[in-house]
């Protein structure tokens, strides 16, 4: 999967979401786009590139550079195509003598305040300012600039007070103000994409400069979390990866998946020959949509770390040194050893554990190796810890052991309930996407003993923080269900149509019992009853309500039960089965779902089909030509006890959505 380093096409402004289509004419071509699309994006979709500098499709249009001006028949002036939405029947011209003149005029101003050292600039060849100077045909700068931001000394030989030296304090990227065109793309990326608000523009007019907060703050001292969004957004060499400065621009790239957290961001590993130059978040990555966090973006030193094992090695005993051998020898050695152990200690004496960072193909093959070659069910996965309660709980309630939504879905949520998770730290890219939605007005409920940064941050704050005593998840979730049922906030039509009404009534009677009320459990949970009630009402009545939960739910003795309780909340209120809602586990690794789908658990063959079921075994026995062991392993790697049978499971096990 190689592609050349032509940057992914930039449509200038984000895609519009409307379903209504609008047709207009741009440079004589008819273009049909969703309502709310900018003229710039409509033009780009028709293959017409309008010159631009301040617009990029990861952030909202801003209208500051004034390069993208166009003419619209019947309208005065020269509106900016990035900030002007399409309208039916518009006749737009993106090129003519007047516009050409205007764009040159703007470009001449830019270049009058920019150092002319393109040949030695680290962004040479990868600079939008350079591209635009070419695109508008600028040939001459007629100004005798006196005030500039790039000259170290002014015309009379004194230090130029406007010159700000390069800030190299951040370990991963540098900020070189002399090259800045003050397009604010970085500031907007930090606000809109990342949600950290570390950057601002300081000063007014010609004195406007990008700043990491107070004048005395450098990048390292600021709120910056080094996500790199600003660097990706910067059209010039002003904010740039230090690796580019050191190595040079990349020549090609490979699409890959981040090896760190459960979000699973897609990246472009940008290469120069065999050397990794930088990792840039991949725009088309479905988990991250072009964003990333510091780990995937900059902490890729492992890729070429000297400790990395590149050749197969074996050793007889733990006390022996490792010995490099050929692949064939290594395979034979391993096979012989495994066989030997089984001969000596029995079939069940060997087992495997896979990581959920492995691909579907890898995990499938390993469980097949275990079942078809080792002839036992001693297979497990690291997702055992974070995911098995989800697998069980959602399997019991929804019939499938999977979360119900993709990450894009959060953009349509109106109420977001986060239980036992701190995405800001553990799932940063999801957190950024969630916070973007929160800043647009979605409401947040956090159920977590800790007051983490997920509870409150720049321009968002949880409406309710249920700071429960650890170990009382089930009680809190049940109390929420109690309020929903007793206050009549459940969605009867949904339950009748999509669930089982009789079982619901049984459950409702059970959960409505006074011992499940917020008031009754307050003494256990430590959460004020009124807060629980308010949160329950908000969840049930606030529009699209989505639950995101993490290891604070699953890595507990009542993990499965809490998951069942969570699924119950979603079914009660009709918050499953469409965008913006659902039950969403935030996992520990990026392929938890896949590795479990592939049958990595001891008791389940691929597709969550129980190994005890002879029909299921028969399928694989036919496929693989072996007899499959019907018992699950005696040696368990799990630290997760069998889910306790508690209250909220009652009556809900067979509900299907």
């Amino acid at each position: 999967m190689k592609d050349f380093i032509i940057p992914d096409r930039d449509f200038g402004t984000p895609a519009a979401k409307s379903k209504r289509m609008v047709t207009l004419t741009i440079d004589g071509f008819d273009v049909t786009v969703p309502e709310g699309t900018s003229i710039m994006r409509a033009a780009a979709e028709a293959g017409i590139q309008v010159p631009k500098l301040c617009a990029t499709d990861s952030v909202d249009a801003f209208g500051s550079c004034r390069l993208c001006l166009v003419e619209i028949e019947g309208r005065n002036g020269t509106p900016a195509s990035c900030t002007t939405p399409v309208a039916p029947g518009l006749k737009v011209q993106t090129q003519n003598a007047r516009l050409k003149q205007l764009r040159r005029g703007v470009m001449e101003l830019y270049i009058s305040d920019h150092p002319l050292d393109c040949l030695t600039c680290s962004a040479n060849g990868d600079c939008e300012l350079q591209d635009m100077a070419g695109a508008v045909g600028l040939r001459d700068v007629r100004y005798d600039a006196v005030d500039t931001h790039f000259k170290v000394k002014n015309t009379s030989g004194e230090a130029n007070p406007l010159y700000i030296p390069r800030d190299d304090s951040n370990p991963y990227f540098s900020y070189d103000p002399q090259k800045c065109i003050v397009c604010s793309r970085c500031v907007r990326a930090c606000e809109e994409v990342q949600g950290t608000f570390a950057l601002t523009i300081e000063g007014r007019g010609f004195d406007s400069r990008v700043s990491f907060g107070a004048k005395t703050d450098d990048a390292l001292a600021s709120d910056c979390v080094s996500c790199g969004a600003c660097v990706a957004a910067c059209p010039t060499a002003t904010l740039q990866e230090k690796s580019i400065v050191e190595i040079g621009t990349p020549s090609h790239s490979v699409i890959t998946t981040c090896a760190y957290c459960g979000v699973g961001c897609s990246f472009k590993a940008e290469m120069r020959g065999d050397e990794l130059v930088r990792m840039t978040p991949y725009k088309h990555g479905k988990a991250n949509r072009g964003h990333s966090c510091v780990k995937g973006r900059f902490a890729y030193g492992y890729a070429s770390h000297k400790d990395r094992i590149l050749k197969p090695m074996i050793r007889e005993a733990i006390s022996d040194p490792w010995q490099e051998v050929s692949w064939a020898e290594a395979m034979e050695f391993a096979a012989a050893k495994m066989k030997g152990i089984q001969t000596k200690y029995g079939r069940n004496s060997v087992g495997v554990i896979t990581s959920s960072r492995c691909t579907n193909e890898e995990t499938y093959l390993v469980q097949k190796l275990t079942r078809a070659v080792f002839m036992n069910n001693n297979t497990d996965t690291c997702a055992r810890v974070c995911h098995s309660p989800t697998g069980y709980g959602l399997g019991q309630t929804f019939g499938t052991s999977a979360g119900t939504q993709d990450f894009d879905s959060v953009e349509e949520a109106d109420v977001i309930m986060v239980i036992g998770a701190n995405p800001s730290a553990a799932h940063p890219v999801f957190a950024s996407r969630m916070k973007k939605r929160l800043r647009k007005g979605a409401q947040l409920i956090v159920v977590d003993p800790r007051r983490t940064e997920t509870v409150e941050g720049p321009h968002y704050k949880a409406a309710h923080h249920l700071a429960l005593t650890p170990g009382t998840n089930v009680a809190v979730v049940s109390a929420i269900a109690h309020v929903i049922v007793t206050e009549g906030l459940f969605d009867e039509a949904f339950i009748r149509e999509r669930c089982d009404w009789d079982e619901f009534q049984d459950y409702a009677e059970f959960i409505a019992a006074p011992n499940h009320s917020p008031e009754a459990v307050e003494i256990l949970t430590g959460v004020p009853a009124e807060e629980v009630r308010k949160a329950a009402r908000l969840y049930a009545t606030g529009g699209n309500a989505a639950i995101y939960y993490g290891l604070g739910v699953t890595e507990h003795s009542q993990g499965s039960t809490t998951v069942i309780g969570i699924a119950n909340l979603a079914m009660l209120t009709g918050n499953v089965g469409r965008r913006g809602v659902g039950v969403n586990p935030l996992r520990g690794q990026n392929n938890v779902q896949g590795s479990c789908d592939m049958g990595s658990f001891p008791h389940e063959l691929p597709g969550y089909r129980h190994v005890k079921n002879p029909d299921v075994r028969a399928i694989y026995e036919n496929l693989w030509g072996v007899t499959i062991e019907a018992c699950t392993a005696r040696v368990r790697t799990s630290c997760n006890p069998i889910p306790t049978r508690t209250t909220s499971r009652r009556g809900w096990r067979r509900w299907n959505v």
Binding site: C65, T78, P85, G105, L109, R204, G205
Partner: protein
């Protein structure tokens, strides 16, 4: 004895507070009981502090007063050496059509009783009996256009907000009044604050807004104080309250925060940078909600329109400029101040007849109309009638109706440079043509001053980039003063001038 001493900032700057204090002391010394009213100004700045004494015949004016002139007040007004006779009979006053400013200078600004006695609240009472659409129609029918500068029809703006979906809507009064030589907003707020409150309350009824803000520049401490007091009184009198309330907000000293979208950012607590339009503030304004942003004078003209009917207001004016306009005359001028009149006087009538020419007595060289972004008009433009389209036709604008007069000693190259410098200092810094262009403009004019003729076409190119390229009218209109100076006074831009001196 009822004595009026203005509290208006211009009068205070000229000593009104000291005069008021001296009057109180003198009266006490003489054992005379007086009722001292601190009123607004009538707008004759050359007569300030203009003290008035109520008599059976009417209010006699004495001015410009000094502390030394105070004792003579108590020895028979008519014989006071600075007595001017009845204020209403002064030619400056007689010539005016005071609709919006009818009560300014006349009433006690903070007396609701006085306000009502002079026709206040009639408009609001009438509006209360009307539907939203009827109020909007009345304002549209009056022909009222925004007095803040752009001249956009107020009724149409209200209609957009009124019909915009959304439960929360806002009325924002733009009292940032940053244009040089303008003071109408200040005089109105200091002299008749309830008119503005009434206008905003009517706007609230017309649009369904429950909350209004008055954004006042920090340089107007008196206006801020009076408006705050007036809002409090209006609340006590249940004119403001649950249905519609007003909050006073103070700016932080940026000219560009008078531009409506920067103003909204500033109100929201953000940097005062201009927002791109669309979205229009009428649809996505304060906190993203439908918002009316109107100038003080636009809003303060609404009560009289509602009270007397659209037809009465519309009857004044010319062409598409209906009603009256408070001219603010300043600069090198004999009679400076505020003069409310129907649209249509020529520039010459205003400058020569009303303002009486320059204070220095030298010939008028140029008049800048419309504040720092307005064009410099030479005498050859003096036949132009005062109206939006008429001034646009002369490559100018009327803006907030401020006029600054210059005599023949003015150096128009220096004025052009000042325009660029003003833009450079006041630019919000968002868009490139203004942010970099204004600085290059100053440098380029400096080159012209040094005799570099090649810099002249560069300056005109720059002006066309700024004019068509800028995001807002600060960068977009700065070329007006620059190019008008260059076009009408080319001699000031020739190297010969430098050589000759």
């Amino acid at each position: 004895m009822k004595i009026y001493v203005p509290l208006d900032s211009a009068a205070v700057a000229l000593g009104a507070d000291a005069v008021a204090e001296a009057i109180v002391t003198e009266a006490a010394r003489r054992g005379v009981t007086i009722e001292l009213v601190r009123n607004g100004s009538h707008g004759m700045v050359w007569l300030e502090p203009l003290v008035e004494i109520a008599t059976d015949a009417g209010r006699i004016g004495i001015g410009p007063m000094t502390v030394a002139d105070v004792p003579a007040l108590f020895g028979g007004i008519a014989r006071h050496p600075k007595a001017l006779g009845l204020v209403e009979n002064l030619p400056w006053m007689k010539g005016q059509t005071r609709l919006t400013f009818a009560r300014v200078g006349v009433i006690d600004p903070l007396s609701l009783a006085d306000y009502r006695a002079h026709g206040g609240m009639v408009g609001l009472d009438r509006a209360k009996a009307m539907s939203k659409a009827e109020i909007v129609a009345e304002v549209t029918e009056s022909g009222l256009r925004g007095r803040g500068g752009a001249g956009f029809p107020t009724g149409i703006k209200w209609k957009t907000v009124s019909e915009a979906p959304g439960e929360r809507k806002y009325i924002v009064c733009n009292a940032d009044e940053g244009d040089s030589a303008t003071f109408a907003d200040r005089m109105l707020m200091e002299g008749d604050p309830f008119t503005l409150i009434e206008g905003m309350a009517i706007a609230g009824l017309a649009t369904g807004a429950a909350k209004g803000f008055v954004y006042i520049r920090s340089e107007y401490p008196v206006a801020i104080r009076i408006m705050e007091a007036a809002v409090r009184l209006a609340r006590e009198a249940a004119i403001l309250g649950a249905q519609f309330d007003i909050e006073i907000r103070v700016g932080a000293g940026a000219y560009v925060c008078g531009e409506e979208t920067s103003l909204l950012n500033s109100l929201e607590g953000k940097r005062g940078v201009v927002r791109a339009k669309p979205p229009l503030p009428a649809l996505e304004g304060f906190m993203g909600k439908p918002t009316v942003v109107n100038n003080v004078i636009s809003l303060a003209s609404v009560p009289v329109i509602l009270a007397k009917g659209a037809a009465h207001y519309k009857d004044f004016g010319l062409g598409r400029s209906r009603g009256t306009i408070p001219l603010q005359i300043a600069g090198n001028v004999r009679f400076g101040g505020l003069y409310e009149t129907a649209f249509g006087l020529t520039l010459g009538q205003i400058v020569d007849d009303i303002a009486g020419g320059t204070a220095t007595g030298r010939p008028v060289k140029a008049v800048q109309v419309g504040g720092p972004l307005g064009a410099y008009h030479p005498r050859s433009d003096f036949a132009t009638p005062f109206g939006y389209e008429e001034f646009a036709g002369q490559g100018g604008l009327i803006g907030h109706a401020g006029l600054t007069i210059f005599d023949d000693s003015a150096d128009m190259l220096a004025q052009a440079r000042f325009a660029m410098e003003f833009c450079a200092i006041e630019s919000c810094g968002k868009c490139t043509p203004c942010r970099i262009g204004a600085v290059r403009g100053v440098e380029t004019i400096d080159r012209i001053a040094k005799g570099d003729a090649a810099a002249i076409p560069l300056l005109t190119d720059l002006c066309s980039t700024m004019k068509s390229g800028s995001l807002c009218a600060l960068g977009g209109f700065t070329p007006y003063p620059v190019l008008s100076a260059l076009t009408h006074f080319p001699d000031d831009f020739t190297p010969a001038k430098e050589a000759a001196e």
